[in-house]
């Protein structure tokens, strides 16, 4: 799979011989391919794909009369990125940003179940991270998506929702959102479910710089609401039993 052209919110992909691409049907204008019966790779990260709406995908193969697949994003600020993987490559990809993929033998999506007890994976909001194994190619889509190469330590910190994909072989470190140790900062750190992810110099990431000004307040409210909502739920269940 190669990128023929890429504009703001549109990407044109040229498919190789005998290559089969699976992609979100919503990204195809006209939807001429139809939805297949059976989802592709039914055992490749099924829960994550189900949650993020890419369990059942459309399928496209190269045809002589139409060797190009054009994908259109729903957002005016959207950008596509093609990540080409060799057999040794491993990439962490947020399933929400997965737009299309095509794997050869040995490649695929894998959920790392063993990371469930890793604090760092909970810290990046992916207790069961989805890692893409090569060989193959993955297309990711996000608003204002860009490739960030970390050259200075000061550039290497992101919040989890900004991360679209990164090389899984690169080490990362999860730290509290507010680095100062004042009691107020610590209380805010405890209440707001967000962290900083620190990458080492040399790492390459696909980043979507979403940072809504009310985002942290909303997370604080959501965090409190989750625990408040649990109270009536527990009461209802206990009364029913």
């Amino acid at each position: 799979m190669k990128v023929l052209s890429q504009e703001n919110n549109v990407i044109s992909l040229e498919l190789d011989e005998a290559e089969v691409v699976y992609f979100r049907g919503a990204l195809l204008r006209g939807r001429s391919f139809g939805v297949p019966w059976w989802p592709p790779y039914p055992l490749g990260s099924p829960l994550a794909r189900l949650i993020h709406g890419c369990y059942v995908l459309n399928r496209a193969a190269r045809r002589d009369d139409q060797p190009v697949l054009q994908l259109n994003g729903p957002s005016g600020l959207g950008r596509f990125q093609l990540i080409t993987l060799t057999a040794e490559d491993r990439y962490f990809v947020h399933p929400r940003h997965l737009a299309a993929f095509s794997f050869q033998d040995g490649g695929g999506l894998h959920t790392q179940l063993g990371r469930l007890l890793s604090p760092s994976c909970w810290g990046i909001h992916h207790p069961l991270p989805v890692v893409v194994h090569g060989p193959g190619a993955v297309v990711v889509y996000a608003e204002n998506l860009y490739v960030a190469a970390v050259t200075r330590a000061s550039q290497a910190e992101y919040i989890p929702d900004q991360i679209v994909a990164f090389d899984a072989r690169e080490p990362f470190l999860v730290r509290a959102l507010h680095p100062d140790h004042s009691p107020l900062s610590q209380v805010i750190n405890a209440l707001i479910d967000d962290n900083r992810i620190c990458f080492s110099v040399g790492a390459t990431l696909h980043v979507s710089p979403i940072n809504h000004p009310l985002r942290h307040r909303w997370r604080l409210v959501a965090h409190v609401l989750i625990h408040l909502a649990l109270i009536p739920l527990i009461i209802v269940v206990l009364k029913a039993s």
């Binding site: 491993r90 604090p119 899984a168 990362f172 405890a190 206990l238 029913a240």
Partner: protein, 242 residues
């Protein structure tokens, strides 16, 4: 104290307090929910033991109620009636015997206090012979002994019959209460369906699922809180996903 250790302790004290409260509450809820799950399992086992062939439906409950009615009408009430008749007859017999015994004892007392009269040399008139014989103290004593033993036997029989009557009344009241319970069950299809659902385990399974869902949710929240505490303390090191 080294500044790093002190800073770690301050952080653990400030941010850990909030998370620890959450953790303790979640752990208590998990323990409680697991206890409820155990109780639900026991309830289902008890229902299975009580209704080994399944919870009956309204039709078979009505049949059972009719059977109890039939048993009451054909066996229990007639037996109670027979017992009452027997009891009354024995009581009358006992009363008559007691009266006769009383008379004999009075006669014996009168004879013992009257002056002894020797047997006549001339045989008495046949009509007086019986009177003469009755006056004989030995004969009176024998009759009194017989009367007392009969009284004892009648009393024992009376006690036995009374006990049998009380047992029969208990049996009848148990049958009536059983009939009432069955009629109430047959008249409440919702409760019957609930009981059947609990017996089959469908209702229990749904409750178990709800409980398990809550337990998993709370466990996930607890785990997240634990890991969050570790992250706030800066404990996790570098990680490579591959």
């Amino acid at each position: 104290m080294r500044p790093g250790v002190r800073s770690l302790l301050v952080q653990a004290g400030t941010c850990g307090a909030l998370l620890l409260i959450l953790l303790i509450a979640q752990a208590l809820l998990i323990v409680h929910l697991v206890g409820r799950l155990h109780a639900l399992g026991q309830d289902m086992a008890a229902l299975r033991a009580r209704y080994p062939a399944g919870v009956p439906d309204a039709g078979s409950l009505r049949c059972a109620t009719d059977a109890i009615d039939q048993e009451l009408g054909e066996h229990l009430y007639p037996q109670l009636h027979d017992l009452g008749v027997q009891l009354q007859a024995v009581a009358v017999q006992s009363q008559a015997n007691a009266q006769q015994l009383h008379l004999l004892e009075a006669q014996l007392a009168a004879d013992q206090t009257s002056e002894y009269q020797p047997a006549p040399t001339i045989l008495p008139h046949p009509l007086d012979w019986a009177a003469y014989y009755l006056r004989d103290i030995d004969a009176l004593n024998v009759r009194i002994q017989q009367g007392r033993s009969l009284d004892g036997a009648l009393n024992a029989r009376l006690n036995h019959l009374e006990l049998a009557e009380a047992g029969m009344k208990r049996q009848i009241s148990a049958a009536i209460s059983r009939k009432d319970v069955l009629a109430a069950m047959a008249g409440d299809p919702q409760a019957l369906a609930d009981l059947r659902s609990r017996w089959h385990g469908l209702g229990t399974a749904m409750l178990c699922l709800e409980h398990l869902g809550l337990v998993l949710l709370l466990a996930a929240l607890s785990l997240r809180s634990c890991f969050r505490l570790l992250i706030l303390l800066g404990i996790p090191g570098e990680l490579r996903l591959a």
